[in-house]
Symmetry: C2
Subunit: 149 residues, 2 copies
DNA sequence: CCAGTAACTTCCCTAAGGGAAGTCGTTGGG
DNA sequence: CCCAACGACTTCCCTTAGGGAAGTTACTGG
């Protein structure tokens, strides 16, 4: 099933998808984010085959999103932790959560809640402009060619 | 390659991935967002096989992200447009762009720039708390079980 | 010394993606 | 009037990625 490569497209969306653009990677990221960091914990929680899990983990480590570190030498045991690059990628998860909560959660409401440290309230993310701080969604922008086009 | 279903997991990330969790869907969404709305335009722009493209489009329409509408009866011609659900999903693309620009763009800089309507400036998205309006990133929240857990 | 555990790897099978070619309804040019 | 062209797909075949189960390695504890 030779998959088309996205990594060399001149598009940050495509390049991001090249790293987390298949179903399992974001879920692995989510698990590591909430503290499920070991191989067999991940496998149990996700119901993923160990083959695919080891491939995905290797890929995420190669792309600098996760770090593999030994937390014990004898016996050799490893865990996966987020790098800065990976931690920032988790922001994407918050936006997925927001959309999923709005459009795919049923009667029962959102399965997970998020409490903001600063204000202590249950809330969700909104996209704001880095310049003027006001709301900035996909419908609020013009798209222009940039230097790396 | 029977793919594991994510749709019925109690997780908004998984449910979102069930809809746009494979590589092509977000790119199709991006194209429709910037005005590439017809089948053969999409195919040319993406380099996707027509088989997979028609499957993906059908899926996105079924999930209420895109709308298929005839813009001509004779001859029968169709285009795909964003629904409200799909437009909000484009916010996710802005966050992908931001991460991709920061971590995968090379020397030459970002391939695409975004100008905010409100302030007219080239900028990017930041995640803010819907309650207190301050920055709210993945590292700034506690995760708690919600009603739909 | 044997069961158990963490972290994988190997094997096989099936189904999904890629590519090329074919289809269907219509229109415009020679 | 007939054939090429076009938009929008569908069908066919081939390759390969994903799922599942079983095997492997390196230890530890009883």
């Amino acid at each position: 099933m030779q998959r088309t490569r996205f990594g060399d497209m001149a598009c940050s969306i495509a390049r991001t998808l090249d790293i987390v653009g298949e179903p399992w990677s974001p879920l692995i990221l989510r698990d590591v984010y909430v503290g499920i960091t070991r191989f067999d914990e991940l496998q149990r929680d996700l119901g993923i085959s160990s083959k695919v899990l080891s491939e995905r983990l290797k890929g995420l480590v190669d792309n600098g999103v996760l770090e593999r570190r030994a937390y014990s030498q004898r016996p050799p045991r490893h865990e996966y932790t987020l790098t800065d690059k990976g931690r920032e990628l988790c922001d994407l998860l918050l936006v997925m959560v927001r959309w999923g909560d709005r459009w795919t959660a049923g009667e029962s409401g959102p399965p997970v809640l998020y409490r903001h440290h600063d204000c202590g309230q249950i809330s969700h993310v909104e996209l704001h402009c880095s310049v003027c701080d006001r709301l900035m969604r996909a419908t609020d922008v013009d798209v222009l060619p940039g230097p790396g086009a």
